[in-house]
């Protein structure tokens, strides 16, 4: 059930990515998706292996869902988020987008805990909220850095 659920969530997120107006170039989006996946993987590995704040399930079916959540759902939602924030000039719209994306990510993360992909020893809601805020902040900073890179100039 968990695999089906997370495949469905990933499919919805991928569909949204292909249907919303993408502001950034293909190269920007590729770089950002790669970096967001690296960030997501590292955050989860550190809080799981080193800090023992969460523990991912050792069942293979659950691990596949956890993998989809960590490597597809979170990075792709962050990529959609930075495309949206880049497209809106108004700070109010940016805030609305940020709060909406934060809520969606929080709900999906809580769902991941609910279906047993991960278990958490400490405060689940606060921990998830901090984790998502850190990921969104890093995503926003990365987007600002990547879009400032000169186009066409060789390295």
């Amino acid at each position: 059930m968990a695999v089906g659920l997370f495949v469905f969530i990933a499919w919805v997120v991928i569909s949204v990515y292909f249907f919303v107006p993408i502001q950034l170039s293909t190269l920007d989006n590729l770089i950002l998706f790669f970096v967001f996946t690296i960030i997501s993987m590292n955050i989860f590995t550190i809080i799981d292996l080193n800090l023992n704040l969460i523990q991912h399930s050792n069942k293979k079916e659950m691990f596949v869902s956890f993998w989809i959540h960590r490597n597809i759902v979170i990075p792709l939602i962050l990529t959609i988020f930075v495309n949206f924030t880049d497209s809106f000039k108004s700070k109010v719209y940016k805030l609305i987008v940020s709060v909406s994306v934060f809520s969606i990510l929080l709900l999906i993360n809580l769902l991941a805990f609910r279906v047993g992909l991960m278990t958490c020893g400490s405060n689940l809601y606060l921990g998830s909220a901090i984790l998502i805020m850190v990921a969104m902040l890093l995503a926003f900073i990365t987007m600002k850095l990547v879009t400032k890179l000169p186009e066409g100039e060789s390295m």
């Binding site: 770089i31 996946t37 186009e151 066409g152 100039e153 060789s154 390295m155």
Partner: protein, 169 residues
């Protein structure tokens, strides 16, 4: 299970640092062939795919190997993933430099897969990788094959997109 292999700054750390420095110098000093963003895509892609494989098969429920001094995730582990970046970049750089024809792709990918395996063999001998649960070095062969093939496919896609954009101008 948490395992500590060693606590000293020795061969595995030196191997990671030396590989990273040589890789960065090569990427920096070679004559430029791609734009900054395109170079970044090739550099980051290999780190990205390498991490995906490592953060999948090197953790529970598979747990086929540990990287560097212990089972925990350390700064040196992260640096060892960064060494994949220059490797992927150089792979695409020389493909572009030699203007390889499609009929040589299989041979080119095989050659670089063998180089990656050789690098892994040296890294394993120096204590960067510690295989567990029956893992053997030749299991990495299909992984490198998939990583290098997908990177070449990405390069072809980006070139096709560039060619389309040029023809539309």
């Amino acid at each position: 299970m948490y395992i500590i292999y060693d606590r000293k700054f020795n061969s595995n750390e030196w191997f990671v640092i030396t590989s990273l420095i040589i890789g960065i110098i090569l990427v920096w000093k070679l004559p430029k062939r791609f734009s900054i963003k395109e170079s970044l895509v090739y550099l980051i892609y290999f780190v990205f795919v390498g991490m995906i494989f490592d953060h999948t098969i090197a953790i529970e429920p598979f747990d086929y190997y540990d990287v560097n001094d212990s089972s925990a995730y350390q700064l040196m582990d992260f640096l060892s993933y960064l060494t994949f970046g220059p490797f992927g970049y150089l792979y695409i750089y020389f493909y572009d430099f030699f203007k390889m024809k499609n009929r040589y792709n299989t041979f080119y990918i095989f050659l670089w897969t063998m180089s990656a395996l050789l690098m892994e063999y040296v890294a394993h001998a120096l204590g960067v990788y510690h295989y567990k649960n029956g893992y053997e070095i030749y299991y990495s062969f299909p992984i490198y094959l998939a990583m290098l093939s997908s990177l070449l496919y990405l390069y072809k896609l980006l070139n096709l997109k560039k060619a389309n954009e040029k023809s539309n101008l």
